[in-house]
Amino acid sequence: MNSDQAKSGYTFTAESLRKKFRFSEFFAEKLITSVAFLSIAVIILIFFFVFRESLPAFKHRPKGTTEENRVSAGNKPESYGSNESAEALQKPETYTGAEPAAAVNKPETYGEVKDTSVSADEVNPDAKFRTSESPDSEGSLSSLFSNEWFPVSENPRYGLIPLFVGTLKVTLIAMLFAAPIAILAALFSSAFAPAWLREWIKPAIELLAGFPSVVIGFFALMVMATFFQNVFGYETRLNSFVGGAAMALAAIPIIFTITEDALTAVPRTYTEASLALGASKWQTAVFVILPAATPGIFAAVLLGIGRVFGETMIALMATGNAALSSLNPFESVRTLAATIGAEMAEVVFGDMHYGVLFLIGSILFIFNFTLNALAEFYVKVRLVRKIQGRGA
């Protein structure tokens, strides 16, 4: 049979059509797959690490040890090296997580670090007034729900509520500024601007996305704070309003870019159909293009929220960093991210404060996950159905 084929000059022979092993393609495919899995694995590992480090916050520790180490927290981090009483401290590599069991199971060993410095008050002036309170119930889980964030007081309290209030307040203010401005700008750019102008606007705003947040923070600190104070006449110069407005500057380019892409991706046939029905340009943009782009716009706003929620530098520089849980936008606030940013470098490794900071990290993590999940499963389905009809 085979020889017949060869003789008669067929082109469809088993020989010419034999399966080939394409090594480079096989290799490239495996490489891409492993890179993808690696990145997922890294994210999972980070989350695992952050969450594990936050576990000490849930543990009741013997009193005395928990209280004393608080004092050392902010002031002499270098004392890690000189106090060699604890076994973990003799092995600096435990910081890298090489011996996680030690960190989780024996956090109390770190507590034996004794520092004579009492200048913790500089870090939190309020501590002066709280020096002699009963130590029990402090430093425990219950204080997480209190209204006071005094992590380096002699009598530390880790109330997360003011941090939550502050973060949500700043996020809300930032989104109230950023979302309308960015969406309207995107609508203008995609539906009304002449082509030459659009070619300028889009890259210009996208360039803003690469602006270092420390520069925005600086600008807010020096310029915006003064300007808003002159306009509104509030007392505290740095507050959630200034911080929110500054973070809006960081969020606008993100929301703008994605919204603009979503609006541009709306098929041209929609525009034509609407105009042919006698709709004006404005009616077409608002009643046809905008609703058709809802999922994209929603994703844009979510990304903006994620950006603001996790923004650290602007929060540190422009919000005043006082952990107050007031609803007044012109009061100083301390955000979750700024708290980590400000305190993590000065905290005692493995201690309650350390654990709480990591807990905050986990919360930021979980919040973003929840936000995205919410968007995916609830809002996308419900909102899109409402605007675009069932089964869209």
Binding site: A276, L277, P291, A392
Partner: protein, 252 residues
């Protein structure tokens, strides 16, 4: 021939430097169906889009000459394009319902014209869908997405959407070219019904379709109007040889 609804005088159109229509003179009669035939790129769609000034959207287009509808030049400076398009409906080659529910699709036109009364809107939507012969298929799913309909249903929905604005003229740009024969048949029946009330201009690649639905036929070639006349005459005894060759399939 009935009275002409649309008259064009020396209509010439350029895309940039390229001439797409050369001095078209045409009388489109009222409440009849006029079909434009011709090979791809001959300018028939471009001409159709001149009639409701959709070409205004393309910056490089320059138009000379006149288009008179009921004797009024629609390219005058004083004409409001938005109001003009309310009187001239258009159905596109590719069905393009909005990403909204079926009801909202049809109600969109009346809504932007300021009708907000729910009862009135429902009436308009129902009668438009009935006139577009799609009511029975969608009456139980008015609030489902229009994108879930089949291609033929979507196209009839687009026709219903056009009817809801109560135009006088309906322009159809190859309305059935992407549809199967059954859906095409339904659209053709629909056109036959609609011409009692509306002046219809249809661009088609399908010669049989032109022969079936139209009263008058215009043959375009390379931006020129070659021949215009009663459909029966164009398809049986055209005056010009080019027309005959195109219709019998010898070129184009």
């Amino acid at each position: 021939m009935k009275e002409a609804k649309i008259v064009t005088r020396d209509l010439t159109l350029h895309y940039g430097l390229k001439m797409a229509l050369n001095s078209i003179n045409l009388h489109i009669p009222e409440k009849e169906v006029t079909a434009f035939i011709g090979p791809s790129g001959c300018g028939k769609s471009t001409f159709l889009r001149c009639l409701n000034r959709m070409n205004d959207l393309i910056p490089s287009v320059h138009i000379k000459g006149e288009i008179l509808i009921d004797g009024l030049d629609i390219y005058q400076k004083k004409i409001d394009v938005v109001n003009l398009r309310k009187k001239i409906g258009m159905v596109f080659q590719k069905s393009n319902p909005f990403a909204k529910s079926i009801f909202e699709n049809v109600a969109y036109g009346p809504k932007i014209n300021g009708i907000s009364d729910k009862k009135k809107l429902t009436e308009i939507v129902e009668s438009s869908l009935k006139n577009a012969a799609i009511w029975d298929e969608v009456k139980d799913r008015m609030h489902d997405s229009a994108l879930g309909l089949s291609g033929g249903q979507q196209q009839r929905l687009c026709i219903a959407r056009t009817l809801a604005v109560e135009p006088e003229i309906i322009l159809m740009d190859e309305p059935a070219s992407a549809l199967d024969p059954i859906s095409t048949g339904k659209i053709e029946e629909l056109i036959f019904e609609l011409k009692k009330k509306y002046t219809i201009v249809i661009v088609t690649h399908n010669m049989q379709q032109a022969a079936r639905v139209s009263d008058h036929t215009a043959f375009f070639y390379l931006g020129e109007l070659i021949e215009f006349g009663k459909t029966r005459k164009i398809f049986t005894a055209p005056d010009i040889k080019q027309t005959e060759e195109y219709i019998t399939g010898r070129f184009g």
